[in-house]
Amino acid sequence: MQTTLVDLLTSAGLPDPLAHVIRALVPCVLIIHLVAVGALVFIWLERKVSGRIQDRLGPTRVGGRFGWLQTLADGIKLIAKEDITPGEADAMLFRIAPYVSFAASFAAWLAMPFAVGWSGLDMNVAVFFVLAVLGLEVFGVILAGYASGSKWSLFGAMREAAQVVSYEVPLGLCVVIPVFICGTMNLTTIGEMQRGFATNWLIFHDPFTFCVFWVYITCGVASVNRAPFDLAEAESELVAGFHTEYSGLRWSFFFMAEYGSMLLVSALAVILFLGAWHGPIPIFSIGLGWTDAGGILGYLASLAGCANLILKSSLGVIVMIWVRWTLPRLRIDQVMTTCLKYCVPLASFCFLGALAWQAWIPNVTPASLPAPFGIDRAAIRESWVTRAGGPHATVSDAQLTPQTASPVPTTLATQSVPDRNIPVAGSTAPIGREETP
């Protein structure tokens, strides 16, 4: 997509630097829309879901039967509100804090793939980048809490800082597990390795990944400051916590950041554990050769994959909303206990368990079947040795060379290696293989 767009623009007569700028702006604008429109939809959804959970109707009037214009009306109201800076506040930091939060939430999306090749920035270390940038969102919250010059905000910021040091450790540990199973930090590759039916999803890779998925969800909810981890906000104790003093558009930036990172955290969960874009709409090759096909069919496959990803991520957001309106808020000591005393040991145990599983029963799962780019997981894991070591490479030369050749010989080559094709695995991939030739 990257090269084609730039090439397209330059062939249309645009000067090359300008073409690069346009190419850079396209994903930015799309992602801003995803975050902003996503926030609109999810705030409406939150009202409806919370209404249903509390046996109410939620918004019903604005925009027709389901109140679906409610958030837009709210947005217009927020734009019209006066932007107030308290006298006690550190004005510069107070003004800048919402943008810090929003920018962090937005920038993390840049490295997220929506389908093969559909990412703002196809990064080699995308997982790590997303985690690192997501951690910066907290900085805006702490800054807001401090700069407001209000004791409620300061309390919120303090709690947030204490919360950060608790959840970041288990969150990192959880993410490491899919990374070492796939042998790459590239989110596109991790997603493509789960191609196939749900049995290929990493959550079903082994019992330990199944456990660690729930630990990830817990830490993910903590990382986006949602109930039961919304201590920084805690409207029953701290008025509104870190955003007590904010009004109007600045306040809504915090909310866009919150809903943006909710979607981000669940999209990351979907990519790491739930099969990325290989979702309810089947886009792997059943006879059609969807994703391998170029042109309009490949584009349609990517579009369907993007829909899959967003659908599953939205389901994740709904789960977060459900959790918020079901569980009571934890105390700060309970947050630290949950994260450090339960999540860290659990994640570490699952880490060791998944390692042992990889070492002793590596090829039992369907996941190690011949995979997307003609490379299976083991081959990707070991490909660095071949690539880096050149002629003296020791590992998996024999596996790799026939596989990288072309799609059709690939399947043949992998079939000829008997220990990679185990009966359990037979359920998914042969469907594609029978019909592609």
């Binding site: 270390v125 980048f129 690192a132």
Partner: protein, 201 residues
């Protein structure tokens, strides 16, 4: 050919931009009086230097910079500042004597670094052939990880006897043990003291 030239232009533009941001906010740390603003400028300065790493194609180092320095350390710093800063420390005024002293020390260090940098021959003139943006798909992470566990993928074919024996496993282990000791020490210092009286809590 035109494509390469234009790419270089953007590359240099962003390099200058990030470099200016880094230096500008570093100066901001120096001249700001408010300790929280100092921390904020420090965050921006470190984040801009992460941008420099990304620009150089060292994505792993850049993300590491964001994660460790910008994310971890500064959250801790701000946490510490907010917990400890009393009226006296909230706004810091540097006396003239300390300015002179720190200028001497900083200037000496700068002179030393500049001398060392300019003695390295490859840096004296820019080699235009080497300024194309590094591929973002560079296999840096796998190599780094391998080197840390003791295999240098770039030195596999050095000589048969010490093939792959030149990794960073030993320093890595030493640093890890050091950090572990620091962690245990910190936990020891920070733990709740034994209750001598029940009312002390």
């Amino acid at each position: 050919m035109t494509l390469a030239v234009d790419a270089i232009a953007w590359h240099q533009f962003f390099f200058v931009m990030f470099a200016l941001l880094t230096c500008g906010f570093a100066v901001g740390v120096l001249f700001s009086g408010n300790i929280v603003r100092m921390a904020f400028y420090l965050v921006l300065s470190l984040a801009s230097s992460a941008g420099l790493f990304f620009l150089a194609g060292a994505e792993f180092v850049g993300a590491m910079q964001l994660m460790i320095y910008v994310g971890g350390t500064l959250v801790l710093l701000i946490f510490g500042v907010m917990l400890t800063a009393q009226d006296r420390f909230i706004s810091l005024k540097t006396p003239a004597g300390e300015w002179v002293l720190s200028l001497i020390i900083g200037g000496t260090l700068l002179a030393l670094l500049l001398a060392a940098a300019f003695r390295y021959e490859g840096w004296q003139q820019a080699e235009l052939g080497d300024t194309t943006p590094t591929s973002s798909q560079a296999d840096t992470t796998a190599r780094l990880g391998l080197s840390l566990v003791g295999v240098r993928p770039d030195k596999l074919d050095d000589s048969p006897r010490k093939a792959g024996m030149s990794g960073y496993l030993f320093p890595f282990i030493i640093v890890s043990v050091h950090l572990l000791v620091v962690l245990v020490g910190a936990a020891y210092m920070a733990r709740a003291k034994k209750r001598t009286t029940t009312t002390a809590r």
